[in-house]
């Protein structure tokens, strides 16, 4: 056990986990998930928000088992390796709003950092703008960190408090089993399903769930984080997490080539638009929000699984943010940015700057 534990903390450990995610993301696409969206934490949480009717965008409603699996896999791993630490109370409300605006930004670009990498690995050149925005946002976040930005300490809480997000995810899975998708129907019991569009495209439930649990398990062990990768590079010149991101990109690219899923260009890319400024701007907002919250959307799910109640609140913020995005016409579509997407990105950046400038609480 100790050996396995230390392996994941090594360079080869993080590289292996990045490779695992890259390969299985490309395979999930082959098995039915939308284009360059084998795994996308933002898009998939958006689909979950649609499945429970928080928004009613008919093309993006599906209870994504991958998201459920991420949290449950991380919980399993945390317990197995005695790393479960129930904790909460570090400016939860701030983390909620960072989650909301992170999602709004990600849905203007159309993807989380994982999907930005997968889009690039599939040949979508628009992802370059998104990744540039992401790095820009993280860079601004690093300036705040250097200036003393700090959301304060969390404290230990009840074990059961740390389970709550995992229990909600388990409940979602039960709902999915009680109310399975019915061919051609938009609704099954309390759940909404997409009949067409990206929400209708998905790998078989149990394959998605098992891949999700495995990714959650390994990512919890290795601390895989796409935001942390760039942040540590900028802040400490440290390459550890970055190697994981690079590995994801390379292995997803190779798998896409083998599966015939690589198609280079700006136009005609799946679930993407070509408005460069807003691909950049959306991810600038998302990157800044992730940096201020201390983790990319995937990492926030894994932290939730190991008992971090503040990360769980960020996740809930993202799900609510997806509802705002679609109800208010903020989210982009292949046709371009939503009617109020630009205004939302500007407001989001202002909110993040407000948080960054005013929350310099001393940690002592």
């Amino acid at each position: 056990m100790v050996q396995i534990k230390s392996f994941f903390a090594t360079r080869w450990g993080i590289v292996s986990v990045g490779a695992f995610i890259g390969i299985f993301a490309a395979l999930l696409q082959k098995l039915g998930n939308p284009g360059n969206m084998g795994i996308c934490v933002a898009c998939m949480e958006r689909d979950v928000a649609g499945a429970i009717g928080l928004h009613r965008a008919a093309v993006v409603q599906y209870m994504r088992p991958e998201i459920i699996g991420f949290v449950l896999g991380a919980l399993l791993s945390a317990y197995l390796f005695r790393e479960y630490r129930p904790r909460a109370g570090s400016a939860s409300i701030v983390r909620f709003f960072l989650g909301v605006f992170a999602m709004i930004g990600a849905l203007v670009f159309l993807g989380c950092p994982w999907r930005a990498l997968l889009r690039l690995a599939g040949g979508d050149a628009n992802a370059i703008l998104g990744l540039a925005g992401l790095i820009g946002g993280i860079w601004i976040g690093v300036l705040f960190l250097k200036g003393g930005y700090n959301l304060g300490r969390s404290s230990q809480t009840h074990s059961s408090a740390g389970w709550l997000l995992a229990l909600m995810m388990a409940g979602f899975l039960v709902l999915m089993l009680i109310f399975p998708q019915i061919e051609g129907e938009e609704r099954s019991g309390v759940l909404f399903y997409s009949v067409k569009g990206p929400g209708a495209m998905h790998a078989p439930l149990f394959i998605s769930l098992i891949v999700g649990i495995s990714v959650g398990f390994f990512a919890q062990r290795s601390r895989f984080c796409t935001m942390g990768a760039f942040r540590d590079l900028i802040l400490f010149r440290q390459t550890h997490l970055f190697l994981g991101v690079l590995s994801l990109l390379i292995f997803a690219f190779a798998t896409n080539l083998i599966l015939g899923q690589f198609n280079m260009g700006f136009t005609g890319q799946p679930v993407a638009h070509t408005m460069h400024v807003w691909n950049f701007g959306g991810m600038l907002l998302a990157g800044l929000a992730f940096a201020l919250a201390g983790g990319c959307p995937g990492r926030q799910l894994f932290l939730s699984g190991e008992g971090d109640g503040d990360a769980a609140v960020f996740v809930l913020g993202m799900i609510v943010g997806a509802a705002f995005s679609h109800n208010f016409g903020l989210a982009s579509s292949p046709a371009g940015v939503g009617a109020h997407g630009v205004a939302a990105v500007i407001i989001g950046i202002l909110v993040c700057l407000f948080i960054g400038f005013t929350m310099r609480e001393k940690s002592a």
């Binding site: 630490r85 404290s155 601390r223 942390g228 802040l235 400490f236 440290q238 201390g294 971090d308 002592a364």
Partner: protein
């Protein structure tokens, strides 16, 4: 022990930031860093080594760990 850095309850990357701050302030000597998660334990140890400090000992401390680092 010359100094103690209490990073318990702080989320990423604060434990590393305040450890490096202390390392730069002292230049050499011994520091005890208190952390409460395994992620922080790994990150602090990795950062201290990258700054040329030696990991003397990592021991359980409450629900977390006490990491002793030093530089001659």
């Amino acid at each position: 022990m010359d100094n103690t850095v209490d990073a318990r309850g702080l989320s990423c990357p604060q434990p590393v930031l305040i450890t490096i701050e202390q390392i730069k302030k002292m230049g050499k000597g011994r520091i005890a860093v208190l952390v409460d998660t395994d992620t922080s334990r790994e990150n602090v140890a990795r950062a201290a080594e990258s700054q040329g400090w030696h990991i003397e000992n990592i021991e359980p401390d409450g629900i977390g760990y006490k990491i002793s680092i030093s530089k001659e």
